[in-house]
Assembly symmetry: C2
Homo-oligomer: 454 residues x 2
């Protein structure tokens, strides 16, 4: 056993490039389609929403892409993040496993989300953008982008799903402190919002409505762009700094993972920790098992359909090839708000289709049980999303014990749970529910997908 608990890199050792897995995928993805013409979209279709540099990254085939110096400077507030050996958690599990976690919770926003928020804000700034819009559900993404835009003097308008706006006041306060404007969605600021409110003044909102509002607000003004915190190729690209650092740190630990685990919503933290290791599977003869962990209540990877679908509920985005439950699928109100998304990003979907990664689904109570075990041994209270990865670590440890095989496991501790403590309260009070999705529900919500491409 190593005598170190933690493996740190100096700023000099921070990676200066992101890794673009599109350069190494054995099968290319299907192209995104225009929903009207059903033809592949071009850069000009995305130009009203994103700056050109991000659009280029979205389709780039370059293996490594330079991280701009200005972005590196901000990363250095909290990066490189620590890789920590979960020695006490290992002892409790009493299995033949070594467990490492990459601690992305040390960012000022408390999660991995700033890894892409900062470059997105930067590229917008470089192209003269003065104002950005985004949506947020539970608030992790909205707070990360608020953190990032302030460095570049960009105004940010966040449309926060109304039910979360009322339930998670601390996230809203964080965004305000970083200078962003936050409004409950549906709002009176957009036509989309006003239409919803006219029909139902008490609408609790949804991510779909919030996306519509953010996109509408962005396209209204030529100096305003829109930003998304997951799913898209350039977002996954920016997150690979997690895995690239982890590789250097595993070397310091003189170890290499047999299994890499990340929780899964749209794919950003999962891709971030796993793609650099997947690269070694694809090119360097490694055989690391890579597992995406989703909620049983939102099982697109394990039970969804691979098909073209909209990225949002209302249908304002291009059609994207993805594992999906259908854009009208309404996930139950689990606490892991970041995982309540109907589809998977196109890269991850293609990799899963090609059998290069695996997926598993876990129920909410099992996740919180795992999160509490982790907090009581390692000390760190994980975000509800992150508990999914930890539940999978426990499963893998039990399997290793059954098989009597030694395994090295690496997982991404994507965020802390300090702004989500109400969820832990419900767990201790025995008030958490496990939601099972029936086959009929899935059949119904994917039924209309065929119409989209006809």
């Amino acid at each position: 056993m190593s005598k170190f608990k933690k493996f740190l890199l100096s700023e000099k050792e921070m990676p200066m490039q992101w890794y673009n897995i599109m350069a190494d995928m054995p099968n290319p993805m299907l192209p995104p389609l225009h929903p009207g013409t059903k033809q592949p979209i071009g850069p000009e279709d995305l130009a009203p929403l994103f700056p050109m540099e991000l659009i280029k990254q979205e389709v780039s085939q370059e293996r490594f892409i330079d991280i701009p110096e200005e972005v590196q400077d901000i990363y250095k507030i909290w990066r490189p993040t620590p890789l920590i050996r979960a020695t006490n958690f290992e002892k409790m599990l009493d299995a033949p496993v070594k467990i490492y976690y990459k601690n992305e919770s040390v960012s000022p926003a408390g999660s991995h989300k700033p890894n892409t928020a900062v470059p997105q804000a930067y590229y917008n700034y470089k192209e003269g953008v003065k104002r950005m819009t985004t949506e947020t559900g539970a608030g992790q993404w909205g707070s990360a982008l608020s953190f990032a835009t302030q460095f570049f003097g960009i105004e940010l308008q966040v449309f926060m799903v109304k039910v979360s706006f009322n339930q998670k006041p601390y996230r809203k306060s964080m965004m305000n402190t970083w200078g962003a404007k936050v409004v409950a969605s549906p709002s009176e600021l957009t036509e989309s919002g006003r239409r919803v409110l006219a029909a139902n003044p008490d609408s609790p909102g949804s991510l779909g409505i919030a996306i519509s509002e953010a996109i509408e607000a962005a396209v209204q003004d030529e100096h305003t762009k829109y930003s998304l915190g997951s799913v898209l190729n350039h977002v996954l690209l920016h997150q690979t700094i997690i895995g690239l650092e982890a590789q250097k740190q595993m070397e310091l630990a003189d170890d290499y993972p047999d299994i890499v685990i990340g929780c899964f919503g749209g794919g950003s933290n999962f891709a971030g920790i796993s793609f650099p290791f997947l690269k070694n599977n694809l090119s360097n003869g490694h055989d690391t098992k890579i597992v995406a962990v989703e909620p049983e209540s939102c099982p697109k990877l394990t039970r969804g359909k691979f098909h073209y679908d909209f990225g949002d509920t209302v249908g304002l985005t291009p059609l994207i090839p993805m594992y999906t439950l259908g854009h009208n699928f309404m996930p139950p109100q689990i606490h892991a708000g970041g995982l309540r998304y109907h589809g998977a990003g196109p890269i991850v979907s293609q990799l899963l289709k090609d059998g290069l990664i695996s997926a598993n689904a876990v129920h909410q109570k099992e996740c919180f049980e795992a999160g509490v075990k982790f907090a009581r041994t390692e000390g760190l209270i994980p975000a509800p999303e992150t508990t999914h990865a930890i539940a999978q670590v426990i499963k893998e440890a039990e399997q290793a014990k059954l098989e009597g095989k030694e395994k090295t496991i690496l997982f991404n501790l994507s965020g802390h749970g300090l702004v989500d403590m109400a969820a832990y309260d419900q767990y201790f009070a025995g008030q958490l529910e496990d939601y099972s999705i029936t086959e009929d529900q899935i059949k119904e919500s994917v039924a209309e997908l065929d119409l989209l491409t006809k």
Copy 2:
């Protein structure tokens, strides 16, 4: 200007001893007195409350005291903490200053408090203690001790001031997650609590009552001890790891502070960052200005009386020589709950009396204004307590600009504010109040001190 943003130490470089300033103080402190006999107390007077090893540290004259290996192992979950150059904050201030901050907010509990919680839990464990009690106001200390006791299988009962118990539910949830029992004080669990409730069933509680309850619960049972998170000599000792690390990190930065700043409640984070630098003033010819920053609403260092007083409101502790506003002084309800304490620890009081450190008091609104400026340049949202240190940094920078002198400033970022965001909401809503304490108020509350030693 250094090209590094951050200065990290490896685990190998983590200090293996704490620094005990009692070995270097030019004037010894007056001894604590028994409130009945007015005679100096001995170790046996403290034995019902604390394990013997901590009592020994309380009076030790050894300059350096070994950090037990088991404590080091837990420290390594988050220590050494980063020293960060506040480059963006410097730019905004546009003054001839270099500003460094020690980021103690990276601990799982979000503050510096675990630095003493872990060794306190450890020494209790070594002496067979099965159960501990403590009080907490805003909850930072209670959560840190909950984090620490779980590693040693010690049950913890936290008496949390009822008004905070209701206002800061996330702190309570953190303690529960780490396995501690938390009860609103006054409670039905103790005679003290029951007596208060009988007189006033709606009592909002106070730190004084909570201390009484925690002490009463500890002395009832021979396997139960009590724990305090500030003020006492052994607590300050444990916190010196902050400044000892910072010294090594300032060397990496090839710099040395002209000014060291810490916010001030009972003295623990202030002592932690400053005592190792004060040592160099006392022994190595340095002349660093060391500033403790307290709230204008609780100005014991700047306007209090140096006198024997009780450490708690009810009068259950020995009489301690301290700068105090009187143990019956009731500080206004500012958000920096950790600074709402009537007295200063005996070491800090003696150092101030001898002119070896200085003190300043700042109003609440100015503090939050400073905190927001910091969050909008450096990204990290500071705890309400910590904003006091930042307000002082701004004052020192302005002074340096006026004088045209270059200065290097180091301050302790004692904790993040993510569990205190309601305070920031009030700031933005213009609802924060500045509370001024009149001379008459202070005269009245210190008037009865003379009776204590007669």
